[in-house]
C-alpha cells in the first residue's frame, strides 16, 4: 500500500475513534464504530489475512444489529 492510502485510512480510524468518544447520540456512536471498522479492514487485507477479513466482515454487522436492540430502549 502506498503512503497516501495509509494516511487516509488511519485518519478514518482516528476520526471514528474520537467521534465515538465525543458524540452523545447512541446511533451516531454506531455510525462512528462502523467507520473505525471501514478504516481498519484494508490493513488486515494488506497483510494477507483474507480469511480473518471475511470472518470480521460477516461478524461486525451481526454485532451491530444485536447492539441496535439495546439502543432501541435507550432514552436520550
Amino acid at each position: 500500500m502506498n503512503g497516501i492510502l495509509i494516511v487516509i485510512l488511519a485518519a478514518a480510524v482516528l476520526i471514528g475513534t474520537f467521534g465515538a468518544a465525543i458524540s452523545k447520540n447512541p446511533f451516531d456512536k454506531l455510525i462512528y464504530l462502523s467507520m473505525i471498522f471501514a478504516g481498519a479492514l484494508p490493513f488486515i487485507i494488506e497483510k494477507g489475512y483474507l480469511d480473518m477479513a471475511i470472518a470480521a466482515a460477516v461478524i461486525v454487522p451481526v454485532t451491530t444489529i444485536i447492539t441496535l436492540q439495546a439502543v432501541w430502549r435507550c432514552r436520550e
Binding site: M1, P42, I45, L50, D51, A53, T64
Partner: protein, 101 residues
C-alpha cells in the same frame, strides 16, 4: 502471494479521496439520518480500495462479504432510527390527549 502495490495508482487515489471526503462529511453533518448515505459512500470506497490492493479471488470474496455486510448494517441502523422516531411521535401525540382526559 499477494502482489504488493507501492506506486500510486489513479483508481486507488480516487477511492481514497472519496473515503476522506465522506469521513469529513460524516463528522460535519448534524442530522443522524444524513450521516448514513455518507457512511455508505465510505464503505463503497473502502471496498474499491480492498479490491485494488488485493486482486486475487479470495480478496474479491472478502470485498463482496464486506460490501454486503456494511450495506446491511447501514440499512439496519436507518430502519431502527426511523421506527424509533415514529414511535416517539406517536407517544408525543398520545400524551397530550391523556393529560386532557
Amino acid at each position: 502471494m499477494i502482489p504488493e502495490i507501492t506506486e500510486l495508482s489513479l483508481p486507488a487515489l480516487i477511492c481514497a479521496v472519496a473515503a476522506l471526503y465522506s469521513c469529513i462529511r460524516i463528522v460535519l453533518e448534524k442530522n443522524t439520518l444524513r450521516k448514513l448515505p455518507f457512511l455508505n459512500v465510505l464503505t463503497f470506497a473502502v471496498t474499491g480500495i480492498i479490491v485494488l490492493i488485493c486482486p486475487t479471488p479470495l480478496g474479491i470474496a472478502a470485498a463482496c462479504a464486506y460490501f454486503i455486510g456494511s450495506t446491511l448494517e447501514s440499512n439496519a441502523i436507518a430502519s431502527t432510527w426511523a421506527k424509533r422516531a415514529e414511535k416517539e411521535k406517536k407517544d408525543a401525540q398520545e400524551k397530550p390527549d391523556g393529560e386532557a382526559a
